[in-house]
Symmetry: D2
Subunit: 254 residues, 4 copies
């Protein structure tokens, strides 16, 4: 798996990359290499909760970052319908935050919709119904949305890309009382391989990964970072304007 | 300090209270008492970062919660202009999340406004300029906003309550590259004493508390909880509809 | 039919009432009486297109307006499915404006939704499908919406009052290429009788009135005014803040 | 003055062009020529109020429309500060509609802002203050806005193009109780010459044209159409998706 990101930082700006494979219990980084041209001394951090890693630096001019990794991502399994939805009382305290609405996921507005549309279902059954609804009602179509598009807007537009599918899925799950969080990943089974946005829901005492676009089997995904929504998991966050020069992701199953 | 919250939970619902005084290093809970009628067995949690405490239970019918505490809240000081704004590289990793936009604080939209209006200032100087701008341009006026009002809307409306002032202050600080988070508190110097929403910014290696309404000296505030915005610090969060029966806060300096 | 509107205009303000029965070909005002206490000299206008009448004055203090009318509203008929949708080329030029999005009806955002949901139908058939969809998906529930609620929000909320049903209906029709406009009316068959917001669509060379709430048979409605959306047909528009003192509508079939 | 618009209508769609010089009393079309390749039989209409002309047809494939005109646009004069703002009672009935909020001009939200910022001024003085505020606070910057951008968003973004400046100007005038409407024009003094969006306000018993961008002297503008906002004056409106092939405007003072 290999990602190349070349961006121009003009004027110079603080930047945060979230592109390294997470140190998540289920996936093992066998080999890893990070090269930047010109050389950059990054500050590297890792969060305890997810094993997500961030690289920070003050960047200037054109910077080409190449990241390569060989990963054994274990044996993720799809979400079974029989998982159990927890009362809020039975959730770990640190999971509660993923019930709250966020920048792109105004779940507070969708209570009536989920009750009317998915009423009578809970847990994995509810999530599967939500995923089915999304697949039936939202078209995968680049160019409809942009980086400001919220789940409310995608709900109206009926189209978007993986980021939008994920925001809508998270929104409908949280509105259903199910903790949900955004996950960034490498998807080697996309054509071509690419960064991918999917999400996780907390059911039966664990996080389960689902892909609302249905484009990439979760078994093949390699986790990078997680957060409330795209605001937290962007692969590149900067303070000022930056310009894409070139970007590519390649990956293959070994 | 004494808070009484009586709400009707009909139909029964999961509920989370965030009303206890935080175990924050700067403030000491000398005495404390929590009574509910009828009796409720709460699950109680405390987060490491802020010392915020949550009470969770499945509630039904009318529940009257009374919380009393005697607190020594130390000696908080106002924000000095000479504090230093950090490059992102110099921020603790756990502070980075408070740079991101959130449900009610779309700081991603305000970059040009803060550059034009507060350009040439950084750090505490920038924050003081932001607070001054808010005081000059926003009226404290109940009834203009509701629980869905975002900082974007308050920026247009030019009026709101403490929650709205706080969201706008957070938004303008984050847009300025300064980490900012919402804080709930007891304000015994408000007339009458009440819950209050204020915010903290990270400067010179620490969190500084500011009150964008200017209504309550920060020296007299007693911290309860913190989060990205009002979605995280509501004193009562429920899954279904609930109805306020009665609510009061009393407090006095000892 | 009798309407009493008592409002307090404090501070004094310009005001426009749209509460008189329209001089629409299909309905005949047999008797009519307008009384204000204190006396107000209104400027009265009538538009050519709809026969809508406006009353204008500069008002001050409490003003009680009573309007009584006896109306023969002819024999309106419900919308048949066999009506024909026109190409834009075949529309009268003055009807084109009702294809455009307006303040509360952002029809430009709903093109993909109407294509997916009502694709394969046109004309009266399409409109009937839209009305059926609204009845199945939107609850009539006061308190969910306010005077700023747009059709986009109602589409998410899945609830509202007659104004919201009408905005959503107009939005989905315009997005379908069918001219649609908002109409205010007296509905003597509502319980209790009240002002009502419904809408008209242009099909088979004429305007057809429909009630998306299904609460009042169109046969019993008495037209007042028409416009792009609620911004144009409010029964009272003022420049400053005003306060409702009392308002009532009574009506009976003679 | 010469405009060439080449668009691809695929799939075929109804289309409305508003690109001909208006038959407005103040401007005289000396010569005029319209050519389409391939040939199109347009339905042509002209409205009484403004003299705006619309061309309608069902179009298919690539259509190149060329419009040439020689116009004597009389002697428009800039807005003097001494113009008088009318009470609503003194406005012609047909002007009232331009007090209402519209799709891109939510003037209902800006009452407090205009009172605080422009309080104490009325009429031409108020409008000049509004134009000055816009010039000081909004940057002319292509790429920030798109066809969905409202005045609310431009007020936050602090940047946009002529369409956005016009929407914001209209919004602030209507919020001030001054009728305002959007106007499309040819601006031969822009570099390069282009379609331009400006607006008119009703003061001292007449419409006055102003350019909130300050880029083109109103004396040189040639009126095309008018309406509530961009939804009404687009030079090309279609039912389906269309694709720009080529577009150019050339103009010179004779």
């Amino acid at each position: 798996m290999r990602a190349n990101l070349t961006w121009r930082f003009e004027p110079p700006t603080d930047a945060i990359y979230k592109i390294q494979v997470a140190h998540w219990p289920g996936q093992h980084v066998l080999e890893e290499r990070l090269v930047t041209v010109p050389h950059v001394d990054f500050i590297e951090n890792e969060d305890d909760e997810f094993g997500a890693r961030t690289l920070r630096a003050h960047l200037s001019g054109e910077v080409a970052l190449t990241y390569e990794a060989v990963v054994d991502n274990g044996s993720l399994k799809g979400l079974p319908a029989v998982t159990v939805q927890h009362d809020w009382n039975d959730l770990p305290a640190e999971v509660l935050t993923y019930l709250n609405p966020s920048r792109y996921c105004p779940s507070d507005q969708f209570g009536r919709f989920v009750d009317r549309t998915f009423g009578g279902t809970t847990g994995g059954d509810r999530v599967l119904k939500i995923l089915e609804w999304i697949r039936e009602n939202i078209e995968y179509e680049p160019g409809v949305s942009d980086t400001e598009t919220t789940a409310s807007r995608t709900f109206i537009d009926r189209a978007g890309v993986c980021r939008d599918f994920t925001h809508l899925g998270i929104t409908l799950c949280r509105a259903s009382g199910i903790p949900a969080r955004a996950v960034s990943a490498y998807a080697h089974q996309l054509t071509p391989p690419d960064f991918h946005a999917i999400f996780e829901i907390w059911l039966s005492n664990g996080w389960w990964l689902v892909d609302p676009t249905g484009l990439a089997p979760v078994e093949g995904l390699v986790r990078i970072a997680c957060g409330r929504d795209a605001a937290d998991i962007a692969f590149l966050t900067t303070q000022g304007d930056v310009r894409l020069v070139r970007q590519s992701v390649t990956a293959e199953a070994v």
